[in-house]
Amino acid sequence: MLRALPPPARRLRRPHMFRLQRILSLLALVLATTAGQAQTPPDRPASTAEAQRFLLQATFGPAGDDAESLMKLGYGAWIDRQFGLPATSHRLTWEASDAAIRAITPAQGAGQNEVFDSFWKQALTGPDQLRQRLVFALSEIFVISGVDGAVGNEPRAMAAWLDMLGDKGTTTYRQLLESVSLHPMMGRYLSHLRNQKADPVTGRVPDQNYAREVMQLLSIGLVQLNPDGTPVMVNNRTVETYGPDDVAGLAKVFTGWSWDCPAAPNTSCFNNGTSGGVSDPDRQFKPMIPYPQFHSTEAKAFLGVTIPPQTTPDPRESLRVALNTLDAHPNTAPFISKALIQRFTVSNPSPAYVRAVAGVFINNGAGVRGDLKAVVKAILTHPEARTPANANSTGKLREPVLRLSAYLRAFPHISDTGRWRIGNTDSAANALGQTPLRSPSVFNFFRPGYVAPNTATAAAGLIAPEMQLLNETSAAGWVNYMRDNLSNGVGSFNGTVGTTVFNRRDLQRNWDFELELAVRPESLARFVTQRLLVNQYSEALKNDIAAQVASITVPTPLPDGSNLAAVTAAKRNRIFAALLLTMATPEFLTLK
C-alpha cells in the first residue's frame, strides 16, 4: 500500500510538508506505474467543480468557501484537518434545547424533534462536516430508530448515540462495534439489554435478536465474501456464513447485560435500571454493564469459535472473544468497506475499489486493523471516487436528507430560534420521507443490495439502495416540500417564542443577492445550476430553466415605488422557480 510511509509529523512546517507530499506523490506514481495499477489521482482538485463534487460526497454539501479551502489543502490534508476538528455534542445541544423550552414552558421539554434539529444544526453549520457525514453514514449501517418506542422515548440517549458514532466512528471498527453493542439504546432496540441466560428447568431460551443482526448487518453479512466483496461461489451457489446454531451460540454471549446502575449487579438494577429508588441519570447512554448472575455459563459456539464453559460467569470475556471473532472474520473488511463506499460515493463499486478499501481496513499502513478514518480517506480518494466518470451507471442517488442539506448549505439560511427546527421529516407525501435516526427497521431506510424492479437500473444489473425510497408519492412529495420551503422558509412554524413574535418558519434566507440577479434570467439560472448541480448538467438545461424564469414577468418599477411589492414578489417567484426546477431534475437527485 502507498500508505506504508508514516504520515508527515505535525511539527513539520508547510514547505517541508509540500516537499514531502511531492516526493510521496512521485513515489506513488512510480509505484503505481510499475505495478500496472490505476493511476493514483492527484491529491488536489483541478477545478472548483471538482472540489464541489468531492464536497458533495464527503460533506452535507459545499458551502461558502469550502471549495477554495479544499483546493488549497488538497484532499488528504483536508480529510486530516476535518477529523482533527473538535466535535460538538448532540447531547449537549439537545440539553440546551430542553432547557430553552422549559424556560418558557416548564411543563414541556425537548423530545425527538430536538435530536433531529441538533443533527441538522450540525449538518448545516458545523465545521466538522466529514465527521458528521460519517456519523450519518454509520447511523444507516449501525441502525437504531426512534420509530421504536423503546428508543424514541429516550431522545437524550438518541442524541448521545450520534455522539458515540462520531466519537468511536473515528477510532477503530472493533471499538465502534463494542460501543454499539453495549449502548443501551441498541440494547433496547435489538433487545439484548436485560437478556437472560437459558433456564433449563422451565425451558426459557436467550433472546437471539442482537446475535443474529450483529452478524447479518453489523459485521459479516449472510454469505461468504471474497476480499473484493464479491460472494464466494461454490457449485454456482453462495455459501452462508452462519446458521441457526451459530445464532444460538452467539446469543448466549449477549446475556447478562443491562443498565449501568449504582447498586449493580443486583436484580432490580438488571430489570429496571434502578434499585431502592437510586438510578444513574445517564443510564440511557452509559455503556451497559455485566450482570454475571444472568450470563450464560454454557459453552458458546459460533463461527468456528467456542468459548468454553465458565465456572464463574465472565460476560466481558465472552464479549471480548465474540467481538474479536467478528472483527477478524474475513468478511468484515469487505462487508463494512463496501457499505461505507455506498454511503459516500457510489452504489456499485468495482471489486477493485472494494478490495482497495478493504485492504486499508485490514491494515492502515501502520499495522492497525479497522482504522475507520483511514477507511474513509481511502474511500474518498480512490480513483473511482475521484475521476468524474462519464459512464451511465456511476455514482449514487442522493437520499432525501442529503438533498435538503445540499440546498441549505448552498443557499444558507438562518434559524430564528438558533435551534434549526427542521424536526420530523417522515412523511413521503409532504416532506422528505426520511428522518435521520427514524428508519422503519434495523434494515435501514434502504438495503445495500436493493434492486429496483422493472427499472433501467435493474436491467443494467445495478444496485441502487436509495431507490428503495423512490416512488410516485415520494417523487411528488419532494417537489412539493421544496416548493413550500422556498416560498415560506424551512422547518417548524414559530409563533411567539417567549416575548419574540416570529410568525414564520424557523429557517429563513435573505434573498437580496438573488433578487439582484432576478432581472437577468440567464445569470440567475447559471448561478443556481452551478451551485446545486456543480458540473453535472447541460447548458441546454440551464437555458431551459432561464427561459422559464423569464416567462415570469417582472413589472417595470414605477418611479414612485408604488409597485415595489409586486416587483419584489415577481422577482422572488423567479428565484424560487429557478431553484425548484433545478432541484426537481434527475440531475440534482443523482450524484455522479
Binding site: V205, N271, S393, S441, T455, E472, A476, A540, Q548, S551
Partner: protein, 521 residues
Amino acid sequence: MTTTHPSHSARRLFLRQAGAISALAGSGAPLLTGLLAAGSAQAALNPGQYGALVCVFLFGGNDAYNMVLPTDTASWNAYTATRNQAPDSIALLAPGTAPVPGAAAASPSRLGGVLPIAPANAQGRSFALHPLLTNLRTLFDTDRRLAIVPNIGPLVLPTTKVQYGQTSHPKPLSLFSHNDQQNTWMALGPEGTTRGWGGRIGDMIAAGNSRAVFTAISAAGNAVWLSGDNVRQYQVGNSGAIRIGADSNGRVYGSTAVATALNNVVANARGSHVFRADLASVAARSISAEETLRTALAPANQAPFGTPPTAGTYNPANDPLLRYLNPLTGVQATNSLAQQLQVVARLIEAGMRGATGVTRQVFFVSMGGFDTHDLQNRNQADLMARLNHALAYFDTTLGALNARNNVTTFTASDFGRTFTSNGDGTDHGWGSHHFVMGGAVRGGDLYGRFPALAFKNPNNNNFDGSADQLGNGALLPERSVDQLGATLGAWFGVGSSDLLQVFPNLARFDTSARNLGFMSA
C-alpha cells in the same frame, strides 16, 4: 368497533355511481355485475368482472402462535409450559378466563382468555384467536368470510423434519433472515429477486386493463410483490395521488408556464444515466396517474370510506372510522393500516365504476412492528387490535360497496416465530398461520392440517414430540406460499399453466394439493 350504516351509504353511492354509468355507458358493467351478485355466494371471478387481491403484510414476522391457538388439552399444555416464562409470561390464557381489569396493560391476565372459534372441520381439536381479534372471530364464525391457512411458509418442495436436517434437501435461501424471507414471501426468492407473484399475476391479467399503471398499487412503499415482468408498482398516498408542484389552479409560484416546465424537467432524463432515466420515469408515472386519480376517486370523507368532518377540513387521523381502541392506553388512536385500506377501498370503488380503466388489481398494504423479541405482550396486543379493526373496517366498507365478492384480502409476514419464549418475547421462525378474507372465501374453516405442538426437550432446544416443530419450536411449513398464491390466482382468473409459471415451486406439490380450497370454485 365502529360501523357505518351500509344501506344508507350504499344507496347514496349507488345513486352517484348510477350517474357515472349513464355518463360512461360501457364502463358501468362491472359495477352492475357486482351489484347483482351482492348477497349471493360468489364463485370465481368471471371474465370482465372486477376483482382485486389485497396483501396485508405484517412486517417483522408475526407470532402466529399467539394469533391462532389450538386449545385441545395436549396442545394447550405444551403451549402453556413452553410460553409461561419469567419475567413476563407470553402464554395467553385459556378460553373463558375472565379479564383482570387491574392487571398490567395488554398482559394475558388483562386481556382475558383466548376467543374460541368454531371451524367447520376442527380436525378433532379445538381452536381460538388472540383475545383482541373480536371482529375477526365474528368474520370467521358468523359471517364466514374469514378462513385460516395453518402452517404456511416458503418451501421449495414438500419437506419433512428429517429432510430439513439434510443439507442436500433444497430449502429456501436465508431462512430466518427478515429481509430475505420478506422477499421470499413476496417474490419466491431472497433479497435481489425482482419478480413478485402479485405482479406476475398482474402480468397474466393486465390485458384486461386499459390503464396498466393501476394494475398493481401499493399504499405502503415499495414492495417487490407487486412487480411483474411487465407490471410495475404504482405507489398511492393514503389520501390519494399527489400532484407534483402545481396548485389547484395548475400554477407554481403563480405561473402556469413554470408548472408545465416543472412537469417536463422532472419527467425527462437528459443524457442516458440509468439512475436518471428511472427517476424521470417514476416522475412521469406520478404525473400521469395523478391526472386520472384526481377526478376518479370518490372523496375520502364520505361514507362508506370515511366520516364528513363536523368542521374544518377532513383529517383521516381524526376520522372515527379509521381509529381503533388502543389496548395499551385504553383510548382511540389512529390506525395507519385502516388509512391505507381507505385509499384501497376508494381505488376499488373507482375501479368497479370503470373510472380507472382496470378490471383486475393487486394491492399492497402493510403494518410494521411484528418483530417481537421483547415486550411481546404489549407490542403484539396493539398490533392485533389494529389488524382486527382495520380488516373489519375494510370488510364493512366493501360490503357497503357491494364489493365483498370481488375482493380477497390475505395476510403475509416475514416468518412465524419460535415456540419458545426468551423471557418476554420470541425469536425468528419459519412457518406461520395466516388469514384470508372476502365474500368469495369459504370462511369459517382451517385449510390444511393444523400442526402438532410438543414440549421442549429439556436437554436441548428440540421439540421431539412434533413432526412440525424445529429448533426452538419454529414451525416447519406444511403448505407453501406457492400454494397460497396459486389458490388466489386461480380465483383471480389465472389459468393453471400460467400458475405453474408464476409459482415455479408449485409443480413439486401434489396436483390435488396445489389449490388449498379456501376460495369458492
